[in-house]
C-alpha cells in the first residue's frame, strides 16, 4: 500500500452542491469590481442607482433594505462581528463611489437634487 493509498482511507468530504454561505462570501465581496474609473462614467444615473443597490446588497445593508433571508441562514445570522466589519468596508466603498460620482457628474446630480435622483435625470 503506497502512502497515498493510506491517505485515501480518510476521505475528505466534497459536498456535491455549494451552500449559500460559500457562494455569498465569494460573489458579494470578491471578484473584479468595475467601478468609478471604468463603468460609472458610462452609466445613466438611473442605472447607477440600480448598480449601487446591487453592489451594496450585502449582509447588513441588505437587512436595512428589508432583505431578511440572511437571518434565517444559520451560517450568517450569528456572525455579527464579521458583518460589522463588512458594513464598515461597504460604507467606505460606497463613499469612494459617491466621491467619484460627485467628481464625474456633479452637475447632473445637482439637477437631480438630493434624494430625488432616481427618476430625476434620464438624459445624458
Amino acid at each position: 500500500m503506497s502512502s497515498l493509498d493510506r491517505y485515501r482511507a480518510v476521505p475528505v468530504a466534497s459536498p456535491s452542491s455549494a451552500n449559500l454561505a460559500d457562494i455569498l462570501e465569494r460573489v458579494l465581496d470578491k471578484g473584479v469590481v468595475i467601478a468609478g474609473d471604468i463603468a460609472i462614467s458610462l452609466l445613466d444615473v438611473e442605472l447607477l442607482t440600480v448598480k449601487l443597490r446591487l453592489l451594496i446588497a450585502s449582509a447588513d445593508t441588505a437587512q436595512q433594505m428589508g432583505i431578511n433571508w440572511w437571518q434565517s441562514d444559520p451560517f450568517l445570522s450569528s456572525n455579527a462581528k464579521e458583518l460589522r466589519q463588512e458594513n464598515q468596508e461597504l460604507r467606505e466603498r460606497l463613499e469612494r463611489i459617491e466621491q467619484l460620482l460627485a467628481g464625474n457628474s456633479a452637475e447632473e446630480l445637482s439637477r437631480a437634487g438630493n434624494g430625488a435622483g432616481e427618476k430625476g435625470v434620464t438624459a445624458r
Binding site: P15, V27, V32, L43, A57, M65, I67, S78
Partner: protein
Amino acid sequence: VSRPGEQSPVAADLGVYVHGIVTGGHDAPNGARVVREGDDLGAIVGDVEADEVAGLEDSARLEETIRKHEAILERALARGPVLPLRFGTILGGDDEVRELLAANRTRFARALDSLRGKTEWGVKAFREPPASAADTEISAGGGSGRAYLERKQSERAVRERIAEESAFIADESHRRLGEQSERSVLLAAQAPAHGREMILNGAYLVRDDDHESFRAALEELAVRHGDLGITYELTGPWPSHNFASLDPE
C-alpha cells in the same frame, strides 16, 4: 447588432449584467451570451430582467439572482479561464460592454493569463466540540462553591488549550496547502453549524498540474488530525473570485 435575449423593451432599458470576462474563443455558457471585442476578449453577459431588479428586496428572488450569477460563471469556467466580476455589475448595453473591454484590453488579458491552467479550491476544517466540556456541564449541579469555581477554572483552561491547538492546526494546514498552491487566502470562518466549529476557511489557487499533490497534502492533514475530531472539506472548482484582480492602470 442583434440581441437574442431582448424580448422585452424593459429589459433593454435596464441594461446588461456582466458576469465575467473571458478570452476570445470562449463559447457562451447556457443562460448567457458573449459580447466580443476583437478576437481576443469577450464578456459573458445576461439581460437584466425587470423583476430581477424589483425583486432585490424579495429574499428568495435575490438568492436566485445570486445563484444564477454563480452558475453562469461555473458553466463558463468549464470552457476556459474566466475573470469573475462582482455580483451586481450592470452596464447600459452591449456597446458599453465593448467600450469596457476595449478600454481595459491589456488589464483584462493579463488577469486572464494569470488564471490560465489554475483553479480555485476551497478548504474548510471543522472540529467537533470536545466531549469533556459537555460532561462537565452536566455534572456542574452539586458541590461546594469552591469546587464549582475550580471546575469552572479547569473548564476554561481546557477550552483555551483546545482553542490554541485548533488555531495551531489551522495555521499549519493553511501553510501546507499554501505550499501546493500558487496563491492562497484565509477567509473568515463561518459560524458553527451542528455544533461543529469551523477552524479553517481557506481559498487556494492551484495549478491544475499540482492538483494531485494539493489533494495529497489535504488527505495527509485529514489523516494526521482525524483523531482530534478534525475533518476537512474540499469545495470547487470555483470561479476564481478570490484571486481575480486587475493591475492598476
